[in-house]
């Protein structure tokens, strides 16, 4: 019920943080060179972080989204360059649909749905995280039931590897009649949006920490730039954005853990974390100046991902239009009762 850190969750957080701290830097260098970070992925799966949402009898932690949050926000903090978020989100959808969630790299189709006919899927997927290398891809199915999902292996698909601004692989897949399993799993866009919100919350927190440290060290005009009121005001704004993003993602995770579909909370989370991401990246680069624009500095691992993540699984504009539509349909007199409604 409460969001207090449970003992298990604290342990998960510590495991994730230690693992990412040990491996992320090397993994980022490999990713920039176009390589797959096999060592990091192996550690993640060996520790079962990818199975956090799976029941214990399926080799998982039996955790909830609040547990996933501590993993994904830590992954965001370290700009972890493997599709852990997509894999966790996929296990959730597969589970809800009563489908098998195979071990290994799973992925989600961002923005595109597949047609399903007699157990075969067809369609073009433009942005699938490491899609060409995934064991199983989950996509929304075109169906009367908007929660219908299709799960299939990409083996036999055509397509090409591609990348987002963060240099994370986002592959194009052309699918023409692969075997698929279907079930009522939920909204792929919503679950993907929640995963990205958690990652963004972590990345923004890290951007804040980097900036605060840098501002205290960097000397200009004879004193640390942290002493300039203009910098202080900017970093105070950044702190507010970081806090809001963190809360927005946590609230959405909590809503799912309470058994609701959490759709409005997820929409709010993607909108709020996305807006925070844009502001945080802008402020950070302003504070860092030229050094932050170099490949050598790690800031861009975070900011380039923030720009990508805020746009993946729906930009703020897309989610805001949808959330606003729901709010307006509910009506003015239900605005406050709706916002304070208990799950």
């Amino acid at each position: 019920m409460s969001a207090e850190m449970t003992d298990t969750r604290a342990m998960i957080a510590e495991t994730a943080e230690r693992l990412f701290a040990d491996h992320a830097e090397a993994a980022l260098a490999a990713t920039e060179a176009g390589e797959w970070s096999a060592a990091l992925w192996k550690e993640i799966t060996a520790n079962g972080l990818d199975r956090v949402l799976m029941p214990e009898d399926s080799g998982g932690f039996g955790g909830g989204w609040q547990d996933a949050f501590v993993i994904l926000s830590a992954a965001g903090r370290h700009a972890v360059p493997v599709p852990l978020a997509d894999t966790i989100a996929a296990t959730w959808l597969l589970q809800r649909a009563g489908l098998d969630a195979p071990e290994g790299l799973l992925s989600l189709a961002d923005g595109d749905a597949v047609g399903v006919s007699r157990g075969k899927v067809m369609g073009t997927l433009l942005r699938v995280a490491w899609g060409r290398s995934a064991k199983c891809i989950v996509a929304q199915a075109v169906d009367d039931d908007p929660a219908m999902i299709a799960a299939f292996s990409p083996v036999g698909s055509k397509g090409a590897e591609d990348r987002n601004i963060g240099r994370e692989r986002r592959d194009k897949l052309l699918i023409d009649g692969l075997d698929a399993q279907c079930g009522t799993g939920g909204s792929v866009m919503a679950v993907g949006a929640l995963a990205r919100s958690c990652q963004m919350a972590g990345a923004i927190a890290q951007v804040l920490d980097l900036c605060v440290t840098y501002a205290g060290e960097r000397v200009q005009f004879g004193r640390p730039i942290a002493r300039f009121q203009a910098i202080q005001q900017q970093l105070a704004r950044l702190a507010g954005e970081a806090a809001a993003a963190d809360m927005a993602a946590q609230v959405a995770c909590q809503a799912l853990d309470e058994g609701t579909d959490g759709f409005m909370e997820i929409a709010a989370a993607k909108i709020r974390t996305g807006e925070a991401a844009g502001k945080a990246a802008a402020i950070a680069h302003q504070v860092y100046g030229a050094i932050g624009f170099t490949e050598e500095h790690r800031l861009h691992h975070l900011t380039r991902r923030l720009w990508s993540w805020r746009a993946e699984f729906g930009t703020e504009s897309v989610w805001a239009a949808e959330l606003g539509r729901l709010v307006v349909v509910r009506g003015a007199d239900n605005l406050w009762p709706g916002m304070t409604r208990k799950a």
């Binding site: 702190a239 507010g240 970081a242 806090a243 809001a244 709020r272 959330l323 709010v327 304070t340």
Partner: protein, 382 residues
């Protein structure tokens, strides 16, 4: 990791039960209260309404017996947010219940409490705050109004400005100079309870640009204040005030001031049809508001648990004011034409009020610059 700690908190079942009770009360009491009045939010001054809240036991409810029933701060939170979301006229008792009562509980004498708190809890005794002066503004260390020791009490001279509703209040908690500032500029001030009906007190309303009289200038001309009216310790005024300010920054009044306008905006959008361009703006505001509320509840829960989340409270205020001040701007662009003051729709009237009033939202409890300076200090930057 950054030093800010926010965790989502559930409101306890008692608080949710109370919510239904408050809503029923409001439905009965202010059902016909028009949107333009609701938009005035906690500026609406209505002693009758305050007395009704007092009769319900909703004022001073968190105070220990015999003054209150030591309810959880989260129960009080629910009462407050329901009142503000409804735009109920809470100004009469607002400062007394929120700020002066708690101050007396913390620093006051037993005699002061017995004398003052029952009236506050009944919604009958109203307070104003005497801090700013013509030449001080946000810089409380520079105040010059003074209290000089005399036989049996103090002689007060000077002037306070921006004292909200002083002309309708019974008491002022005044910060006065009683000695030298000293090295850190913050010593030598003391808080006093001043009876506004005492000889030598002159209250002059300062009309604001909306045409309302909320502010006042209060002049003290050899006002005698008995010894028993000194609050807390002599010379400790600045410290007492600072503690007081910090924890009141994160309440729902920091992001619900323009809520009535948002309600009317949604009503307007209902008429625009399902695919209107207003949706995205409304969805974004809803997202911001729901996150602000969660942050505010989180701070309230920590306060309730005896923690002192001063930095988090400042962050909520800064984000909240930014949010509130955006609403009229957005509403105006969706409306598309200029509001009329007299013959306009509810939305026009609410917009006209909030458009003007919103510039004062950032004056309460520290300007945006000062609030961000406080946050920067919390981050270790100063």
């Amino acid at each position: 990791m950054s030093q800010l700690v926010f965790q989502p908190r559930e409101l306890p079942a008692e608080a949710e039960a109370l919510r239904a009770e408050v809503r029923n009360f409001l439905a009965a009491e202010i059902a016909s209260y028009p949107p333009a009045e609701r938009a005035r939010s906690w500026v609406g001054f209505d002693p009758e309404f305050s007395r009704k809240l007092g009769a319900r036991g909703w004022l001073g409810m968190t105070w220990p017996a015999p003054w209150g029933r030591k309810a959880s701060a989260l129960e009080r939170y629910v009462v407050i947010e329901e009142l503000l979301a409804a735009g109920a006229p809470v100004a009469a008792h607002w400062i007394a219940e929120r700020q002066s009562g708690p101050l007396l509980l913390r620093f006051g004498t037993e005699e002061q409490r017995q004398y003052i708190l029952p009236g506050i809890a009944a919604g009958e005794t109203y307070f104003c705050i005497g801090m700013s002066e013509p030449d001080s503004g946000s810089d409380l260390a520079s105040i010059r109004s003074r209290a000089d020791k005399v036989e049996g009490g103090w002689k007060v001279n000077g002037r306070k400005v921006w004292t909200t509703y002083a002309h309708k209040s019974h008491w002022m908690i005044a910060l006065l100079r009683t000695g030298e500032a000293g090295e850190n500029r913050h010593g030598g001030t003391t808080q006093f309870l001043i009876d506004l009906s005492a000889p030598g007190v002159t209250v002059r309303p300062i009309r604001n640009m909306i045409g309302d009289e909320e502010f006042n200038e209060v002049t003290f001309d050899d006002v005698f204040v008995p010894d028993g009216m000194l609050v807390g310790a002599e010379g400790e005024g600045w410290r007492q005030v600072t503690a007081e300010l910090a924890f009141e920054r994160s309440g729902p009044d920091r992001f619900l001031s323009a809520f009535a306008l948002l309600v009317e905006l949604v009503r307007f959008a209902e008429g625009l049809g399902p695919g209107s361009g207003a949706n995205a703006a409304i969805g974004r505001l809803y997202a911001h508001l729901s996150v602000l509320r969660a942050m505010s509840v989180s701070v309230a829960a920590r306060l309730d648990a005896g923690e002192e989340p001063a930095l988090e409270a400042s962050v909520v205020k800064d984000l909240g004011v930014t949010f509130e001040q955006e609403i009229p701007e957005i509403a105006q662009q969706i409306l598309g034409f200029a509001p009329r003051l007299d013959g306009g729709s509810d939305l026009e009237k609410a917009l006209a009020y909030v458009q003007q009033a919103c510039v004062s939202f950032s004056l309460r409890g520290g300007t945006t610059e000062i609030m961000r300076g406080v946050i920067a200090r919390g981050l270790g930057l100063r």
